[in-house]
């Protein structure tokens, strides 16, 4: 497994959305969560590509749920964070907080 890479901004957002959704994190729900929490309407393609990249990097694991009739008999692919994703989120947060420190009043 490669060394921990810095997270991109959108990767950060997607990982946090998955963390918030818990066991219900699949592409449609992740997109909905981002819209609900940030007001950003992101494209489906961006979500799929980012999930795919994060899984390839080893930040996510995925599994298939049970097929349902409303999905045409197809299963949902659920995502969950691997420990290294949690580490990457912590590191990203630490860097941002460190940069913000002392400027909270300036930029609010």
């Amino acid at each position: 497994m490669s060394a921990l890479q810095p997270l991109g901004e959108f990767e950060h957002v997607v990982l946090l959305a998955i963390l918030r959704l818990g066991d219900a994190a699949y592409a449609v729900a992740i997109r909905g969560e981002i819209l609900a929490r940030t007001g950003r309407r992101v494209s489906r393609g961006s979500i799929y590509i980012t999930l795919d990249r994060l899984e390839t990097k080893g930040y996510l694991k995925s599994w298939l749920g049970d097929p349902t009739p409303e999905r045409g008999g197809r299963a949902k692919r659920y995502y969950a964070l691997r420990p290294r994703a949690v580490e990457a989120l912590k590191e990203s947060r630490r860097a941002l907080v460190s940069l913000w420190r002392g400027h909270e009043g300036t930029l609010t």
Partner: protein, 297 residues
């Protein structure tokens, strides 16, 4: 709601591991969107969305060289060893198709490797593994002379006198025969030809268990006054004499001396290393004085 068949076909361009779940997501959203927006708008929307997704993944594939994500634990648990092997073979084939230059080098490397291995195996098989083409090859030995004063290990030729004594007195060996290799000029019938020859004493072919067409050498042919005789290898008989069925009894010239052909060796029984070699099997002769010295001719 079921997706249009064309959209499902279009989604086949997505990576295999994501194809089903993406199609399921779109079907779910399509089912929610169609009652609100109407069938026509929903159709346009689903086609447009699917096309964008496919284009995005194709661009991703071209720019990033998408690697396959790790196989999830629950799928890995259900996979048999043959699923895994099949997956590896298919994956390997895809990689080879994507990189023709690498494939070419790999194929050439394999071809050279297989060719070299085959050549080495053929030599080892012939030289070391296959038994000699003689009867009871395990009981054949080569006797060599040794001169302790000169070398403790170097083996050399046996003197003709020793050979005659050993042949007459030995009770250890079933038969003892002497050989000496040489090159001779074969002439008198077409173009002169340089051929490899082996001079042997009578009993040599019997010791090897080789029965030529015609006859073998006789003990009395050691007599220097008798005519010289020769037995041809199968290869020489076929190539030089066109497999002449009347070769036995004919006279050929070896080093300008007439020799009567008394036999032809069976195929594969000697002289097979070089196709155009011949084997000449004249007798061992005592010298004119009848002394202990002998010479091979």
């Amino acid at each position: 709601m079921a997706l249009p068949a064309g959209v499902i076909a279009l989604l086949n361009a997505l990576p295999r591991d994501l194809r089903d779940s993406v199609a399921g997501d779109l079907a779910e959203e399509y089912g929610a969107f169609a009652p609100r927006a109407g069938r026509l708008r929903a159709s346009v929307w689903i086609w447009w969305t699917a096309l964008r997704l496919v284009c995005l993944f194709q661009r991703e594939r071209l720019t990033r060289g998408r690697r396959l994500p790790p196989v999830p634990e629950e799928i890995r648990g259900r996979m048999s060893i043959w699923d895994s092997v099949r997956q590896d073979v298919v994956f390997g084939a895809r990689m080879l198709r994507r990189q023709p230059g690498f494939t070419f080098v790999a194929v050439i490397t394999l071809a050279i490797g297989i060719g070299a291995n085959t050549a080495i195996f053929s030599i080892v098989d012939r030289v070391l593994w296959r038994p000699l083409p003689f009867q009871d090859p395990g009981s054949l030995v080569v006797i060599a002379g040794q001169r302790p004063r000169e070398s403790a290990t170097l083996a050399g030729p046996v003197s003709p006198g020793d050979f005659l004594d050993w042949r007459d007195m030995s009770r250890t060996f079933t038969a003892i025969a002497a050989t000496s290799s040489s090159a001779l000029n074969l002439s008198g019938d077409g173009e002169p030809q340089r051929v490899r020859a082996l001079s042997v004493s009578p009993g040599f072919l019997e010791a090897l268990g080789v029965a030529p067409a015609g006859r073998t050498f006789r003990r009395e042919e050691e007599d220097p006054d008798r005519a010289r005789v020769a037995i041809l290898s199968d290869a020489l008989w076929r190539v030089r004499f066109g497999a002449d069925p009347k070769i036995i009894g004919r006279t050929i010239l070896l080093n300008a001396r007439p020799h009567e052909v008394v036999g032809v060796l069976p195929r594969g029984s000697g002289g097979r290393r070089i196709r155009k070699c011949s084997c000449r099997w004249p007798s061992i002769r005592r010298n004119a004085s009848g002394g202990p010295f002998t010479r091979f001719r």
